[in-house]
Symmetry: C2
Subunit: 414 residues, 2 copies
């Protein structure tokens, strides 16, 4: 039934969804997407997806975290379903493929099974997880974390978007506007979960592979550091008595660079968001807030380095008060051989060049690992560019991914 | 005639002007002011000043930079006038005294001469310089720089405020709305210039002095540094290949700290404004723009250290492109003995405790120095706090300053 995968249909659906929140680009290939979760754009895209799924006989349901499920029944209704899916929200300056392709590929797989008249024993369910990106409500993956029990959903309620709207409020609004859709309980125990995603890195393209059989996902910890000092006049205040939050930020990052040094270049340490107050050139800053994104495939390393961050900063600053908050953590995961073997076998059966590959980015799959055997399928990303309107994978690359996905799902559903 | 200075009148006028752009405070002493230059609030305050000055027979004129002049005639009309004044704009989170007191004290001096029926030989002119603070249009002192010929006024036309309004456009609007006021040519050559100002530092209060006889102003140089790197995914991009603008900013500031190190703690080096792009926690920053505020009383030091900034940054960064622009410079000045002696004599005649004091902050007086003998009078600032709603000097301290100012002006006007 992988022969029933339609490259043209999948691409047309992707491009139709890319119009919802489109960021104009000079060239067709540089058009991006800004589609925040729990927004009117998100609901518009979900309705399109529901329409396509209902046309092939799927049933629709939504859970308390607004995760959306589209189910194609199996012949043995009592067996746990096989789950596939990804997310439909984008980064604020995002591309047309990150997340949404995994959902469209799942639909393409259901469509191929339908067109080929295949009756699987287990049901196959397609899920669109809520807020994977964290682009509107930080952190991301709140839908899959709520579903899996990683974090109690109430913990996310008071997160505010840049306009001051709460996650809890936006979620209630979405559920209210989707009240016509059957409600299902949060959680579940699928037989297996497979997520298709673009690589978001350069390896498959550079090495000429069609498919990445994802071996696992490195762990991530996100922190916010607040340094509080004192304003002073840049001309009159001697340097010696200052409590300059910018200078203490420079000291802190310098010390963190030493803490996170790694000769193997495996560890990822990123400071990428900085807010300064009052942020005027001639008044010493009394407040700097900056983020830390720390990632490593080895849980012990991630724990040790992450746990040392606060003491490292306290030891480095000269005069500011220090507050460190951990906003997000996802420990490293290794995917289940049940799924990785099925993905590799599917790629082989399709005659595609494939290799095992770790994921540097986190994904909803990370939070499904404790619940059921889990794995992922990667397709190449042009030049590894992601979180960017220039993100691109070709129709043929994506069709190959969909063919591997449907073979994997069919095997797991037997 | 210093006996005609009215502590109550001066304070009432200051408090009336502080209502125009008032920032509410819990206690009366913590109320601040946000009065941008070339705004409706600015024009409102100027009209009040004009009304008070016209009531005592002053003539009013405005120049092409919107500097406002209020002239009390002398008996010898052909002699160059004595000039006093300061500015009426405030920092965005400013106090009730910085700048505006120098204007109100000048008016109080004219009022005292009027009340005492004193006829000076030279005219005495009061000036309110445009945009000293640079709070709306950066840099500041554009009014006095235009007047003195330090910088051609056209150089400032295209500066934008945070709302995208140009300095040239705001200036034209102001001149249009003040078209009823006589226009005077830009520039002039006064006999002398004296500016009264709060100290904005803690020295006079800490040492128990009433009056600072300002000896000169240290030099200032302002730079904007732009580091351009490349965005990348915080999870997938190895650290080794990154062109991370935040990390290069940390390297640059570290190297600048070495360049500007000063065991005597005389040099002022401040990085206080930082903008990061895209400023999201999980995307490596591709752009950081930060400001440098460098000050020193010795011109040779200021030139040498400032001229080395660009090479120091280029030598420190790892991968980013570097652009350094100098936005503002004011070389150190030493005030003229004609004026400093007059201020010291006036303070002595008033029985006030006075000392010579250098100015760490820059002032419009800095740009008048090449034009005529120039000096300043400081009064104490509570705890040295300035550029802050908590800025405070008492009615008695300000009245003492006005008495010294009127004596100084009377002496210089003979």
């Amino acid at each position: 039934m992988s022969g029933s995968v339609s490259e043209a249909r999948q691409w047309a659906r992707l491009m139709e969804l890319a119009e919802i929140g489109a960021i104009p680009g000079d060239r067709l290939e540089d058009r991006g997407v800004n589609r925040p979760c729990l927004s009117a754009l998100d609901r518009h895209a979900r309705r399109k997806l529901i329409g396509w799924a209902e046309a092939i006989g799927c049933t629709v349901s939504v859970d308390d975290a607004a995760n959306l499920f589209l189910r194609r029944e199996g012949s043995a209704a009592s067996l746990a379903p096989v789950l596939t899916g990804s997310h439909m929200d984008s980064q604020p300056q995002g591309g047309r493929f990150d997340g949404i392709w995994g959902v469209v590929a799942g639909l393409e797989a259901l469509n191929a099974l339908h067109d080929a008249g295949v009756a699987t024993r287990r049901a196959v369910e397609l899920v669109a997880w809520t807020n994977e990106e964290g682009g509107r409500f930080r952190p991301g993956c709140t839908g899959s974390m709520s579903w899996s029990g990683h974090t109690h959903p109430d913990r996310f309620r008071d997160i505010l978007d840049p306009d001051g709207i709460s996650y809890g409020g936006a979620l209630e609004q979405q559920l209210g506007l989707e009240a016509d859709i059957a409600r299902r309980p949060l959680g579940g125990r699928p037989h297996a979960y497979v997520e298709a995603h673009i690589e978001q890195g350069p390896i498959l393209e550079a090495e000429g592979f069609d498919i990445g059989v994802v071996s696992g996902i490195q762990g991530s910890r996100w922190f916010t550091v607040t340094l509080t000092g004192e304003t002073a006049h840049a001309g009159t205040a001697p340097l010696r008595g200052r409590r300059d939050a910018v200078q203490d930020m420079v000291r802190a990052v310098g010390a963190l660079n030493v803490l996170t040094a790694d000769a193997t270049d495996t560890l990822r340490f990123t400071v990428a968001r900085i807010e300064v107050s009052p942020n005027t050139s001639n008044s010493v800053a009394n407040l700097v807030r900056f983020t830390i994104d720390l990632r490593h495939p080895d849980e012990a390393v991630l724990r040790a380095r992450g746990d040392a961050i606060e003491a490292t900063i306290r030891g480095a600053v000269a005069g500011c008060d220090v507050a460190v908050a951990e906003n997000f953590h996802a420990m490293p995961v290794v995917f289940d051989p049940l799924v990785t073997a099925a993905v590799a076998a599917a790629a082989a059966a399709e005659g595609l060049r494939h290799r095992p590959i770790p994921s540097g980015a986190f994904h909803d799959a990370q939070f499904v690992v404790p619940i059921c055997p889990t794995g992922m399928v990667f397709v190449p990303s042009r030049r590894g560019i992601s979180h960017n309107p220039a993100e691109y994978s070709s129709p043929a690359q994506l069709a190959a991914g969909a063919r591997v996905l449907v073979r994997t799902l069919e095997r797991l559903a037997e």
